[in-house]
């Protein structure tokens, strides 16, 4: 998978998993409240049963004539009776709760308060309580946890399968496009080289036509063609070739590339002032060379003869400043984004800066382009640290 593809894949995964999980959690919330009600209903039912039992006993006791009255104690439960003025009468515990008909939970006890009428033994309120069925609550939570984990597994699996499924046609399209570019560049390679070689030969054999305007235009056009061709090759390579990330001596490589461009600069009588400090970068060698080549060739291309280009490389940044034609303020914004809209009428930077931007984005470098019309352009790349 390409980095960009990976990113959108993970983004998709995250959104899918998050939203589905949210749905599951909402569902679980409703189930939880429902189940909680059920547990509480069960507890209430039990308490009600016990309270009926106690009431029955109270009635019997009320009618009893024996000297000693045994308070009905029921295992697992507590109960107490209060008179109509809410005075505690008797019970096997003495709860401190508001005497209001109904049920509620206080601490770890589940209470049921019932009004008693007629008031057997003077009881106006009967309070029955039992320990909350902690086991039932724990089981419910356990159930929910297991369900959540299970759905999480299912969701992630589905997400991965779906993601792969959706990405497949996309991948195929990209591969198709790549193959097309590969074929096209391959097919273009031979004719372009033929043209360029033959122009050289033609100039060799016809020295008197060397300065011919038409011939020069043909030559320039074919060089431009060659550049586009190499840019397209880069696009293809950028996608398919695995990057070989290593620690590079950027200063050495920059010197090499400057040497390579020296003849071109000389032919335009351009001065190149370079300040190169030792600089190590962790990246693919091809990418670094492409970066340097694009920036240097742009600077040479857009600087008129007899002017100068200043290049500074430090462990912090790379600055390439030229005294060229500059870029219009309104074009500056678009210049690096005109990937497939390379428009010769608008500055004519071709794919060069767009490729530079791609590389910078990939490695997290900060790219800054400042320019003044007819005064020059300054490109700064700050290596991320």
């Amino acid at each position: 998978m390409f980095p960009s593809e990976k990113k959108s894949f993970y983004r998709f995964l995250a959104i899918y998993i998050f939203s589905t999980l949210l749905l599951v959690l909402v569902g679980e919330y409703f189930y939880y409240t429902f189940a909680l009600h059920k547990i509480e209903d069960e507890e209430r039912r039990e308490l009600k049963k016990v309270s009926n039992q106690i009431l029955w006993r109270l009635k019997e006791l009320h009618q009893s004539f024996s000297k000693k009255l045994e308070y009905p104690v029921i295992k697992g439960f507590h109960s107490a009776i209060f008179d109509i003025d809410k005075n505690y009468l008797i019970g096997d515990f003495k709860p401190n709760i508001p005497l209001q008909e109904g049920s509620f939970i206080q601490g770890d006890l589940f209470f049921l308060v019932r009004k008693v009428k007629p008031h057997y033994l003077g009881a106006a309120y009967l309070v029955v309580a039992k320990k909350k069925d902690q086991q039932a609550y724990n089981n419910l939570l356990k159930e929910l946890l297991v369900f959540t984990l299970f759905s999480l597994v299912v969701i992630v699996l589905t997400a991965v399968i779906l993601g792969k499924l959706f990405l497949k046609p996309l991948k195929e399209t990209v591969t198709l496009l790549d193959n097309f570019i590969k074929d096209a560049t391959h097919e273009l390679n031979t004719p372009i080289n033929t043209i360029i070689t033959n122009i050289e030969l033609f100039k060799e054999f016809n020295p008197h036509l060397k300065e011919d305007e038409e011939l020069k235009r043909i030559e320039i056009a074919s060089w431009r063609l060659q550049k586009i061709f190499s840019d397209l090759s880069f696009l293809k390579l950028h996608h398919n070739i695995k990057k070989n990330i290593e620690i590079l001596e950027a200063d050495e490589i920059l010197r090499e590339r400057l040497l390579y461009f020296q003849p071109l600069a000389l032919s335009k009588s351009l001065a190149i002032f370079s300040t190169i400090e030792e600089c190590k970068l962790e990246m693919d060698r091809n990418d670094l060379e492409t970066l340097f080549d694009n920036l240097i060739s742009n600077a040479i291309k857009y600087t008129p003869p007899l002017k100068a280009i200043y290049i500074t490389l430090t462990p912090r940044e790379l600055v390439i400043r030229d005294e060229g034609i500059g870029i219009d303020k309104k074009d500056l914004e678009f210049i690096t984004h005109r990937f497939f809209r390379a428009n010769k009428d608008k500055g004519g930077f071709g794919l060069g800066l767009a490729i530079v931007r791609k590389i910078c984005e990939y490695y997290g470098f900060e790219l800054r382009i400042e320019s003044k019309k007819n005064r020059g352009t300054k490109v700064t790349i700050r290596w991320r640290k």
């Binding site: 009320h62 009255l69 033994l121």
Partner: protein, 113 residues
Amino acid sequence: MEKITFVLLVEVIAFANALHTYCDRCHLQYIPYQMIYKRALLLYSSKRRILENLTNFLIDPSASKTILPPGLRNRFDPNEHPTFPKSVAQEAIKELIEQEDLIKRFYIPKKEE
């Protein structure tokens, strides 16, 4: 003059043992206190309300204030019940409540855990 002496006498004795003095002679025979107290409990629940209502009855007995079930009400006419001054009635009922208290007779069995 006679009347005043009577009232004073009543006052004095009233605080000694009103229930025994004024009520036993009829009640031990016809209608036991326990029955009256249980009946009162059933209807009034709290001691405060029992005291209030039974005292009211004794001050001015009437069929409308009776707590007795219809069967007993027909045998003895509540309207005919002797009338007592408030202080006597109150003291007697207090003693009745104290004497017949059911809660006192309760015990809580040991819980088998």
